[in-house]
Subunit: 311 residues, 2 copies
């Protein structure tokens, strides 16, 4: 057995290893590998997600307000729930805290978290605090599916139209990576009104996240470079595809439903993120390709890997 | 407002602040301040707990096998569920991992966690991995109450007999802090057969944990020094009360039920932790006292505080 470092292996490599090791238990519909686990079936499904953010990896204390850090720790989890087509419900918060941190600082971290919790109907119900050299925030969030079933990454089929919400790229430059709005109302609308087929949130960049969605669904995709909604803060399409931390939704709909979505006026509320069609799902044998406006095709640029390995 | 560092404030001070700040939401029966949150009522209650363990705080990589570290990260959460009278069900695992960690090391961390998961009926359903300078493991665990209601810390009443399971103290010396057995079957038995009134697990030492139970229940307690089951690895009663990381159960029963427990043979299976009566719950006005064998009383020694402040 080769024994690579995690840097060499890359995060996706490790997730693959994990999935082979951990068999889903009784009552588990979706285990490791999606935005959240789906753990109980009933009239609604119950979901469980967790995300950890670490000082000097996901934020720098000198560059972010404490409210922003607290907010982000919860927001990334809420974004996971949105991506699964689920309403977030209860959160627990485990913290690693430097001993010299001020109480006022920690109060501000919580204030940011609580404000978002109130806005999104989440109750922060418990937690754990520990001393740590660096600030670590690990939130676990429960949720309940809007529909009878949560939406996974594995439902995309050839012919589906691929959509993203909002603008992509430049998230660090614009501070959107701290202040993004989890796309809860858009997700609910997509689930309840349009029967979205596959969905995930964009955390590592469309390039690598769409690759994951395609792998899970057993399909390929063609993305039109000119259709990518490049944010003002991103330099070009490549950055829009690879910067990461967009926290927008990526989803697919069969063609008729896609047309209906595009026509539906309710999708165009002033405070709603716009829905942009960016490509089509194709048979797996065609792979994942970026189509330039001259019709030439190239492999999709990769994305961000948490261990710094290529993907 | 004074702005203390967390070291000055102490963990309990901070938990008090948090509880005043965060109001319990709709459907939340028990929020911050118990071993787990109780978030839904039905035929059974659903619980959610989280605990983070950090390298060089809760373990040293040079002194613990990777299997032990993984096992402990899950075990502390299972112990919280046992303490609430709940069966653990689904876990998510957020990890902070040094980039130079070997894949084989991480496999062993998971092997320790999975083994305990299988033994206790837990499904590990998801997680999150990030790069970090030091190894951080944050587990969140769902559970379901054995009885119609989870058992909290607030149910103790004057006259109740106070019990602990197993032996106390010396947990670091004996490596019990890594290899302890969460008291699940004992907890289930106490809930289903004996109607235990208040319960928590001993993580910071009986001295400080009993103080918390008394505060939550609005009572006082007298503990008999000679009744404390001092482990072989603890030097004396003081260490047994203050070492921390025992992960035994602390619980109370009214006198008749206490007598019944003591007589009940089923409690004495060879692989069961013994139940030791150690004192009585008294009116709050009598405070929390340790009674020596000569009848003299002294204040209960404190316990371990996660930020190093006195308690």
């Amino acid at each position: 057995m080769t024994d690579r470092t995690l840097e060499e292996l890359g995060e996706f490599g490790w997730i693959g290893t994990l999935r082979r090791r951990l068999r889903a238990g009784v009552g588990v519909r979706v285990g490791i590998g999606d935005d959240a686990a789906v753990v109980r079936a009933g009239r609604r499904e119950i979901l469980l997600a967790t995300d950890m953010i670490l000082e000097d990896r996901h934020f720098k204390r000198a560059e972010a307000e404490p409210e922003e850090i607290g907010r982000k720790a919860l927001a990334v989890n809420i974004s996971d729930m949105a991506a699964m087509g689920a309403r977030p419900t209860y959160a627990v918060v485990a913290l690693g805290l430097p001993a010299r941190l001020r109480e006022s600082y920690l109060r501000r971290v919580y204030a940011g978290m609580e404000r978002l919790a109130r806005q999104t109907g989440v109750s922060i119900v418990g937690g754990d605090t520990n001393r740590s050299d660096k600030l670590v925030l690990s939130v676990a969030l429960m949720g309940e599916s809007y529909g009878p079933r949560a939406v996974t990454r594995s439902g995309a089929r050839p012919g589906d139209v691929i959509f993203v919400t909002g603008q992509l790229g430049g998230s660090y430059r614009s501070r959107k990576h701290l202040n993004f709005t989890p796309r809860l109302k858009e997700a609910r609308y997509l689930v309840e009104k349009h029967g979205v087929r596959a969905m995930m949130d964009l955390s590592d960049g469309l390039g690598s996240d769409l690759r994951r969605l395609c792998q899970e669904s057993g399909v390929g995709a063609r993305v039109s470079a000119s259709a990518i909604p490049v944010s003002e803060q991103a330099k070009d399409v490549r950055e829009a595809l690879t910067d990461g931390e967009d926290f927008e939704l990526l989803f697919t709909l069969p063609p008729r439903r896609a047309a209906r979505l595009t026509l539906d006026a309710r999708a165009r509320g002033a405070d709603w993120a716009p829905f942009h069609p960016v490509g089509r799902i194709v048979d797996r044998k065609y792979g994942l390709r970026l189509v330039r406006s001259d019709g030439s095709m190239e492999p999709m640029p990769g994305g961000y890997d948490h261990f710094g390995g290529g993907s």
